[in-house]
Symmetry: C2
Subunit: 224 residues, 2 copies
DNA sequence: ATAAATTTGTTGTAAAAACAACACTTTTTA
DNA sequence: TAAAAAGTGTTGTTTTTACAACAAATTTAT
């Protein structure tokens, strides 16, 4: 079966045999399609017919609001899906556009076929739904974390909220972050130079130490 | 059956007959429990055994971070669930505490029973999972909206992002928001008085008009 | 290995936000 | 309906942030 390796590598179809995949491709009325760089994979405002899964390449999710402002909502890479939340929430139209940032192979899955359990109640369907649910659940938790940081008023508080969580995750005062400084500023929605400045101050005050992506947080110094 | 009316009123069990409910209560190993005001329904750090559904009353989701800061993550009211994302994401421990803010009736549903499809692959289970998925999907979309607003740097941009979306939803330049001014400031994580001030300025500049929760946005004046 | 591109830290300045205080209005409650 | 509580708009002050500009360091590409 064509593209079986690509399907198997995703979190959605990782459980499935080639036979399973073949069956599901029929069941979900799938279509494979390749897009060139800068091509629209999904267009904002169009009626939701499919959920997409990126099999190769990547893209960006772009939103244009009522005032005409364009903003990048997120990036999509191999294994990522788009449209699941909107489909399950019952939205009628895509709320964003998805644009390929390189040559990209996309799997389209029919929304109705996916959302409504098969007539024959196949076990495969259950697995896919469970995997989709896990993806959406994980996304939810990530968004909540980010919101926690962004809700803080000052840059220092945002940083401490983020670094504190990273430390907690690592179960250590020493940990590595998945961003460089520029990316971190972008993630926390603060000015890079201002944030860099704030980090320096915190280092001087002995609250934290860092080099590149390696951080050391002195939790004892932060609170009594 | 006790509490059937309460179950029927939720988005999770709205489809179910009394017979269905009874069957599911057994299937999901449910427990009903009433909590007094200020009692802990769920304790942060405890092992995740159950997902909860609020049937009467309400509570708050509270998080204590590694630095000792306490923050209210969200409010729970009748029909809301807590723990679904963590359970599906495979977390081991509750990441927050849930505390009753009044006398509250709670349904506990066993995580494993809920996540893993029944042996007998009952149709009811599918409905519940689909309803849970819809809830999580909707939550996801709400969080994304909020993040869009909070990502803006200035108060004015945050306001325009929020009001623009509300206007889009209402398909009109005239719309009503679900917050009062204090609540809106809280939602957007900005100082109330500063935001009130900014709203006044925007009104003076002719960008918007408002009274209480009624807003009128002059989209044509905002660009150019 | 060298050049080019990107990332980073620092500084000063202008703009914006938080904060605090207070009078006034609206809503809730007894 | 009166009193209490909660919400709102305004102002001035202080703190913080964004922004811009630039040199130094690091990474990437050739």
């Amino acid at each position: 079966m064509e593209y079986f390796q690509e399907l198997k590598a995703t979190k959605i179809f990782d459980f499935a045999s080639e036979f399973d995949c073949q069956a599901m491709m029929f069941c979900f009325k799938t279509k494979f399609k390749t897009f060139d760089k800068n091509e629209n994979i999904i267009t904002q405002g169009n009626r939701i017919e499919d959920i997409i899964l990126i099999l190769k390449g990547g893209g960006i999710v772009e939103n244009i609001d009522i005032l005409g402002n364009i903003s990048i909502v997120m990036q999509l890479k191999k294994g990522d899906v788009y449209g699941v939340e909107s489909a399950y929430a019952g939205d009628e139209f895509y709320k964003d556009s998805v644009i390929a940032t390189e040559k990209t192979l996309v799997l389209f899955m029919n929304k109705h076929r996916l959302i409504n359990p098969c007539e024959n109640r196949c076990k495969r369907h259950d697995f896919v739904v469970k995997n989709l649910m896990r993806l959406v659940a994980e996304s939810n938790l990530k968004l909540l974390d980010k919101l926690t940081h962004l809700s803080k008023k000052s840059t220092r508080e945002k940083l401490l909220s983020y670094l504190g969580l990273m430390s907690e995750r690592a179960k250590s005062d020493y940990f590595e972050i998945p961003f460089n400084i520029t990316e971190l500023a972008n993630y926390l929605s603060v000015d890079r130079s201002a944030m860099s400045n704030e980090l320096s101050k915190m280092k001087k005050e002995g609250l934290i130490d860092y080099d590149k992506r390696q951080f050391h947080i002195f939790n004892n110094k932060i609170k009594y």
